[in-house]
Symmetry: C2
Amino acid sequence: MTDIKLNHLAIVVDDMEAALRFWRESLGLQQAGEIESVPAEAVDIAFLSLGDAHIELIQPTTDDSGVAKYLAKRGPGMHHLCLEVANLDAKLEELSARGYELINETPRGRDGRRYAFIHPSSTGGVLLELYEKI
Amino acid sequence: MTDIKLNHLAIVVDDMEAALRFWRESLGLQQAGEIESVPAEAVDIAFLSLGDAHIELIQPTTDDSGVAKYLAKRGPGMHHLCLEVANLDAKLEELSARGYELINETPRGRDGRRYAFIHPSSTGGVLLELYEKI
């Protein structure tokens, strides 16, 4: 076993109510909290519990954010994978030393957590968020 | 808590060795078993442990399979999400009754497990596999 575990899997949706009808009401996942507006990122988000981890539903609220452009280009679907690691700085240093492309060279942080994104070109096509509780 | 949990997250790759260099050697996930060839599906697969679940790396070995066409069209990245449920038949019946589109109306099965795929048009863009141990 490693110290790496799933934190969340983010899905971009174009219709939050329809997505909740599927994942929560029909499939039976439990919603954690309410739909939350994040104006700074121009998205509405909702979390569904999946064991200790979550599925995060993301709906853009404008047309010009990164996630809105992703939705326009690729359609709804899985957007990024977030894994929790024990030592974020060491992981980022290791990946950078091996030549992988970090979107955030320095972790971003808020609310007792720190995170950094790894570019899909380094992971085999997956936008990967590494996350650490602090 | 519901009885639904992550079984695996499948990632389509175009270079298995490069993908393993990232996810196993650099990020530090443990590989479960060896790279396995599945001629019937024209893919090579490898599993990485993620808690009780797995990340499944899939590389097409021909150009004309469904997954090869997906790779050619969309590039490498997250391909499908597999959730384990306690009663597959009841879930499928429920989803079908609500008008969602099942790719497999009747579960497929082998090796002590049964599974069925739900069409991305029903889930908000995610190819979803529902899985049951038997």
